[in-house]
Amino acid sequence: MEKIINYNICEGVDFSHIKIKKFKNASIAITFFVPLDKDLVSGFSVLISVLSDSCEKFKDFKSLNKYIEEMYGASLGYDIFKTGNYQGLELYISALDDNFTANHDKNIEKIADLLCELVFRPLIIENKFDKNIVSKRKNEIIELIDNQISDKRTWSMIRCNQIMFENQKCGIPKYGDKNSVQKIEEKNLFNFYEKLIKNSRIKISMLSNSDCQDIINKFKSYFSKINRNLDFNFEKINLIKPEKIKEVTEKMNVEQCKLVMSFRSPFVRPDTYDISLASAILGGTPTSKLFMNVREKMHLCYYCTSVFDAATGVLYISSGVEESNCEKAKNEILNQIKLMQEKKITDEEINQAKNFLVQNLNSVSDKINSLYEWYLGQYIFDLQESPEDYINKILKISKEDIVNCISKISLDTVYILTGGK
């Protein structure tokens, strides 16, 4: 069983230690949250990539990675994501736990030290980052932006999201845009660094079997030298309602049409228990209404699934169908939602979806990533909830609750990516 230790390092900087014995790996991550802002999002994306490249102690990518490989191939990486109106920027390092290295090397201390080096002692000379590194990492972010188009299923979800949230904060692309990335220079990147360290919300998460006090002290000492000025709190999203349903069809050289439908709802975390269950009944399991009808009964597709985004309150349904069947699939999806709104949900469907969600929640503590994501989610939504607490809420949901919440969703955007043959 894991034990969670929470510690406030300073204003807006929180540390969590998930103390757990059963894994072979230990990991540490620092996640910075900043409000999504189209003028800043690209700079922060380049910055987090630059911070993962090198630092004062390891001045180039090669020497940094040599050190990491010595630590039994520890993995160092960065991630850029969106949650509601915020951009998340993360640096993480994972390595074998001390017990499983040949000489019981102190890997955990080493990865924590390394993370501090990367974050607090980056390679900056006269308030400038290294020109070559910045240029290389700008190219990397531009490729990330460009290459989103490759996976058509994901790309159609991204497009639906962009269309739905046009001119809204949460519609700003997570990596930013190419033009803004091009404008980043080694000098102005330093301003982004200052802003990130001083003004962002910061969550440090550590997962290991060892004690964390020394590591907490290390971060405390570094942050004591920084003049922190946190200038925002996490706020719930307030979406702008469209005047009419947006329907957009785009052409691309694809064999199969990708259909994405997004539905807005008034539910954002923490009030998302009912709608998550409703989403599971609708399209979250291999016996969901969409799977059983759009795939198994009508044979229109291989996949037809629904996912609910608890940060924005949006339910997405996505499927891959023949172009000639697109309208049929769309109508059936709407029909299945209508049936749920008309209370046509069986007790068996409810119990099966509950059972499925409960077992997923029960397995959170068996996966490093799930544990880590669970507690990061708690932080973002300012909750203190264990998977067991969530399970108890799910088990209490009635049919009326499900009908009530599914009746409050409304179609916002229909996005179709087609080969147009």
Partner: protein
């Protein structure tokens, strides 16, 4: 029941051979709430042609995958529906050389286990069921047709191999699956779903003896005594063609550079696999020459360069893949680096670092019940013991290793596959 254990890792598993021929691996994990069960047969997309009791049978491409879809259909409904009642997450997959059925759960584990054991023993193939599945699989095939990642590898294999059925897409084609009938499915089931061709692995919080009792009670199918033999056409050591390119909607071209290894008449030994993998590990070290040369020339980014050692019955190749503005230049630099190592040998420190990285990959398998189960199955099908494999990685020495690249890599047997934008 045999016990295998590794005290350093603190891991152990049990092995038992059931009288039906089924091989059983049980890995108790007391501190996990999750269970993972997987049952697999050595039957994949490459087993199109085979001899069943001396009679040659030829089947259309994609039939193993089609059978996987249809095995979920039972007389009294669908196995997915039965799993839904227990709350387990069930799935299945077909690869080039195997088909596997699996579930994970935290509750009602024995009920789910019974469903798994039942449906693999009771095929129910009907004409209506086959027709229904055709539409679904056609959409699956089209979904993969739109995936540049998948197409770049598929095209690579089509060019590396001349006759081997690895050239076919795992799911077949819209045309090939139109020839699949319930009779053919039954024939394939009879040939490859005999328990003597299958392996079962279970990971979670259980008592091994209790599971063996449970399995004994729930396996009703007797060994058929059928003799099945996979048939593969002769495959030359040479590649089929050295370059292939396809146009798709991509921003940056995708590439896969593959080196075909000598065709052997048996699976590679544990040592040989480790050596091939370690060669790739060294070549792709982030601190290494090749990686940094490609990065410095802006030919790759840190997110998009990967490798795979791809080995199975009568095929083996080493593959480098990723995205690059100039795939031809990437291929040239990879070949130059291999040539240079063939002449100068490897750097010993790089070898030691790559060994550590490779070792850590295998230790990390024990972080998750799913990866333990999947690996126990893979290791059984390849004929290795996982602990022995990990210890072999630790013990491999530089002197034995260093000369092997000359033997294994021939830069004339290299193919570049590209996906370029329209």
């Amino acid at each position: 029941m045999q016990v295998f254990q590794d005290d350093f890792l603190g891991e152990k598993y049990f092995f038992y051979k059931h009288n039906s021929g089924l091989k059983i691996y049980l890995c108790p994990k007391k501190d996990f709430k999750s269970y993972f069960a997987i049952i697999g047969t050595k039957y994949g997309s490459i087993n199109k042609n085979f001899k069943l009791n001396s009679k040659i049978i030829e089947t259309p491409a994609g039939i193993a995958h089609f059978l996987e879809h249809k095995l979920f259909e039972c007389k009294n409904g669908d196995a997915f529906e039965l799993f839904s009642k227990t709350g387990a997450s069930a799935n299945a997959y077909t690869s080039y050389d195997k088909t596997a059925y699996l579930f994970s759960c935290t509750d009602n584990f024995k009920k789910s286990l019974k469903i798994l054991l039942d449906f693999v023993q009771e095929p129910y193939f009907t004409q209506a069921g086959v027709l229904k599945e055709r539409g679904i699989i056609e959409q699956e095939i089209k979904m993969y047709s739109d995936s540049p990642d998948w197409q770049v590898t598929l095209n690579l294999l089509k060019s590396l191999y001349k006759n081997h059925p690895i050239r076919d897409d795992i799911a077949g084609s819209v045309e090939s699956i139109s020839h699949i009938t319930p009779e053919l499915l039954n024939k394939c089931y009879e040939a490859f779903y005999d328990f003597s061709n299958m392996t079962f692995c279970l990971v979670g919080n259980f008592e091994p003896d209790d599971i063996i009792d449970f399995i004994n009670k729930n396996i009703t199918k007797k060994a058929t005594g059928n003799h099945v033999e996979a048939i593969f056409p002769d495959e030359p050591d040479e590649i089929y063609k050295n370059s292939i390119s396809q146009k798709m909607e991509v921003a940056t071209p995708l590439f896969a550079v593959g080196f075909k290894h000598k065709i052997l008449n048996k699976r590679m030994s544990c040592q040989e696999i480790i050596i091939h993998e370690l060669i790739l590990q060294i070549l792709l070290l982030k601190s290494g020459n090749l990686y940094n040369k490609l990065l410095d020339k802006n030919l790759i980014t840190t997110n998009n360069f990967d490798h795979e050692f791809f080995e199975g019955p009568f095929y083996a190749s080493s593959i480098f893949s990723g995205e690059s503005k100039n795939p031809d230049e990437v291929a040239k630099i990879i070949i130059d680096e291999i040539n240079s190592i063939i002449q100068k040998g490897f750097d010993k420190q790089e070898f030691e670092r790559a060994k550590k990285c490779y070792y850590a990959e295998f230790v990390s398998i024990f972080n998750r019940v799913t990866s333990i189960g999947n690996n126990l199955l893979d290791f059984d099908f390849s004929g290795y013991n996982i602990f022995e494999f990990i210890n072999n990685i630790k013990n491999i020495n530089f002197e034995n290793f260093n000369s092997k690249i000359k033997k294994y890599f021939n830069v004339n047997k290299c193919v570049i596959s590209k996906i370029i934008s329209n």
